[in-house]
């Protein structure tokens, strides 16, 4: 027992491990934030307005939702590499670059999920808003408020996606120790080197986080199903 405790203390005072946890959280937080703002806006606009080419956009978005993350990583890599169109930013092998890659993966997912939830709920909410004389922005606000559980659910899902990503992060971030190494990329590297202890510690942290996310999702869905009593 004591030895396990010692081992934990050792792991969680190890600078490299703490850095990997920090990088993961930072990356997940910012990519989730950016994706949420863009994805929620896009999803709601897509539901609200009808325009030419809307079906095509939805189809393209669906395709992007299923895009293998490594492909997104490659695209961002090509954009950010020194001779690439965005090379002057110098974001390759930085956390910023990783956030961009993550956003490229998550924005379509967020857009698609929000669009789907909104298609089911928003029309009735807007209709109601009209019957009580709500103004334009009051209506937008009411739609957001009434859909908040769906939106939280989408955000939590996006966060979960972000912390568990490996391929694109490895490609764009380069898995540099203490800088762009995340929990998942650290685990895959440690495993390939035959070092398991630290990998297990990180794995435990990831599992705990996955558990919390799962629990949050369940909780939000339960709230939601208590609502459907029509």
């Amino acid at each position: 027992m004591e030895r396990i405790a010692d081992w934990f203390v050792k792991c969680f005072t190890d600078e490299a491990i703490l850095s990997a946890i920090g990088v993961t959280l930072k990356m997940a937080f910012f990519s989730c934030l950016i994706s949420s703002v863009l994805g929620i806006t896009a999803g709601l606009l897509l539901e609200r307005y009808n325009f030419k080419g809307k079906k095509l956009i939805i189809r393209i978005n669906r395709t992007m939702m299923g895009m293998p993350p490594v492909v997104a990583g490659l695209v961002v890599y090509l954009l950010l590499m020194r001779r690439g169109p965005l090379g002057m930013l110098g974001w390759l092998f930085t956390v910023k670059g990783m956030i961009v890659a993550q956003a490229l993966i998550i924005v379509p997912i967020m857009t698609g999920m929000v669009h789907q939830h909104a298609s089911g709920k928003a029309p009735a909410i807007r209709e109601f808003c009209m019957t009580v004389g709500a103004g334009r922005w009051q209506t937008v606000w009411t739609v957001l408020r009434e859909m908040r559980h769906d939106i939280y659910f989408c955000i939590v899902t996006a966060f979960g996606r972000s912390i568990s990503e490996v391929g694109s992060v490895m490609l764009v971030g380069g898995n540099i120790k203490g800088k762009t190494r995340t929990m998942t990329t650290a685990i895959s590297l440690l495993k390939s080197q035959g070092i398991f202890t630290e990998g297990i510690a990180l794995g435990v942290v990831l599992l705990v986080m996955a558990f919390i996310i799962q629990w949050l999702c369940d909780f939000l869905q339960k709230e939601e199903s208590a609502d459907e009593n029509n």
Partner: protein, 205 residues
């Protein structure tokens, strides 16, 4: 309010109203079989649906001063109370608690004041919808079968409330109701609909 040459197609259904006048300050009834187009007409008037052609002249009424109680009311997440004060909140009017309690009491919803709105029974939902609609004193009120599903006492309470409002300030009502007794008691004019057309009008008195 004046409707002329209004036409609307939804799916295979065609609604065509050549001429309909809603006289301010009166209670208008709208009757007709299921699927005769009553709800479609009400939604056009409320502005939820846009007409294919023709005109709805509101004659100076602001849509923000109109309200419609839907056949299946949308309930906001939150309590009965949250739902009822919502139109006031939109207008930044502070709710008067005693007044709201009195309305809830009268319709028999007081015990449900803090209950989660979506757990209400269908009759209770209709009553909530009614209170939520009249709370902000609109000048034009549309009711889509709000009185169905109500027990006799509740129906009476709502009818009396409508009469009470009518005595204090002039409000224009347009209500769909399948109950003949209520229609005859309340309505000044009844419009009959059939297959998307107004077929008859009966003026009381």
């Amino acid at each position: 309010m004046k409707i002329t040459d209004l036409e609307k197609n939804v799916g295979n259904f065609n609604l065509k109203i050549d001429d309909l006048y809603i006289q301010p300050g009166l209670i208008h009834g709208l009757a007709g079989h299921n699927g005769s187009g009553k709800t479609v007409l009400l939604k056009l008037i409320m502005g939820i649906l846009n007409p294919d052609s023709g005109k709805i002249d509101l004659e100076g009424i602001d849509r923000r001063n109109m309200t419609m109680m839907s056949q299946r009311p949308y309930l906001l997440t939150g309590s009965v109370y949250d739902n009822i004060i919502y139109p006031l909140k939109l207008r930044k009017i502070k709710p008067v608690e005693s007044k709201i309690d009195e309305l809830l009491e009268r319709t028999g919803l007081l015990a449900q004041k803090n209950q989660y709105a979506r757990s209400l029974s269908s009759g209770e939902r209709q009553k909530l919808s009614f209170l939520r609609a009249i709370i902000f004193k609109p000048e034009f009120i549309i009711m889509d079968e709000t009185l169905s599903n109500l027990d006799p006492e509740s129906e009476r309470a709502i009818v009396e409330t409508i009469k009470g409002i009518q005595q204090t300030r002039p409000v224009t009502w347009l209500m769909v109701s399948h109950g003949q007794d209520v229609r005859e008691e309340l309505c000044d004019i009844i419009h009959y609909m059939e297959k998307g057309r107004i077929t008859d009008e009966v003026v009381k008195g």
